[in-house]
Symmetry: C2
């Protein structure tokens, strides 16, 4: 395949997976930020038993540990907003890097964060195999 054809095919595949990633991440944060905190448990559908979360320096293996961490976070309200969003293709998956800020409860100041997801196909949809979350202090 000529180089320009290879590049065009790579770009087309990247655009396709970028669309999937956008919808997935939008759905993820809409569940995460749901004012009805009982709905947050639905995030569990987006992980499986092989998933891993690194949250700051904490390591959480599998859906159960991950959901215990997420549902135990110490706030009643949270709102994420995204500043940068970058996608690359992995073998059958999608690598997503998100930078943004979040506000918790009635705090005036937003906290900068970065989050990396690896999405992999499962049952005609995608799940999160890898999730790395870190606050960014200035």
């Amino acid at each position: 395949m000529a180089t320009s054809q290879f590049r065009a095919a790579a770009e087309a595949e990247l655009n396709k997976r970028t669309e999937i990633a956008k919808q997935f991440v939008q759905f993820y944060y809409s569940l995460f930020d749901n004012p009805d905190r009982s709905q947050v448990a639905q995030l569990g559908n987006l992980y499986n038993d092989q998933s891993m979360l690194t949250f700051e320096d904490g390591k959480f293996f599998g859906k159960q540990e991950i959901m215990e961490k997420i549902t135990g976070l110490p706030f009643q309200k949270v709102a994420h907003s995204i500043n940068d969003f970058t996608v690359q293709c992995l073998f059958t998956g999608i690598l997503v890097s998100v930078g943004g800020e979040l506000k918790v409860d009635d705090e005036a100041n937003a906290l900068q964060f970065s989050q990396i997801f690896v999405l992999v196909p499962e049952n005609e949809s995608y799940i999160i195999s890898n999730d790395l979350f870190r606050f960014r202090y200035s």
Copy 2:
């Protein structure tokens, strides 16, 4: 396999790949920061024709485009230092997130950056299949 055995196996594998990633990333930045800029071309050995680099909003497909970008960066001297380093296992690969700062030429101020690598096995070593670089402005 019992849950605790699964977790112990997952942690052991993570520790193993974390060691590999540390050595790899240390080697990568030592090449990148080499005062003899002619040596930087050796970074080309760490990418292949399927590799992708996202540098800020620029997309570079394959070793050739990536090396043109890297060797064309507008400085004579650069020094990276790492503040945070996080690793997770991928199917056969390694996901690495680096946060740090870099100084170029004789600038007094360091620039904050974050960089994500996916390392995959090739020829009894690893190459970079995915590289996402972004400056972090406060």
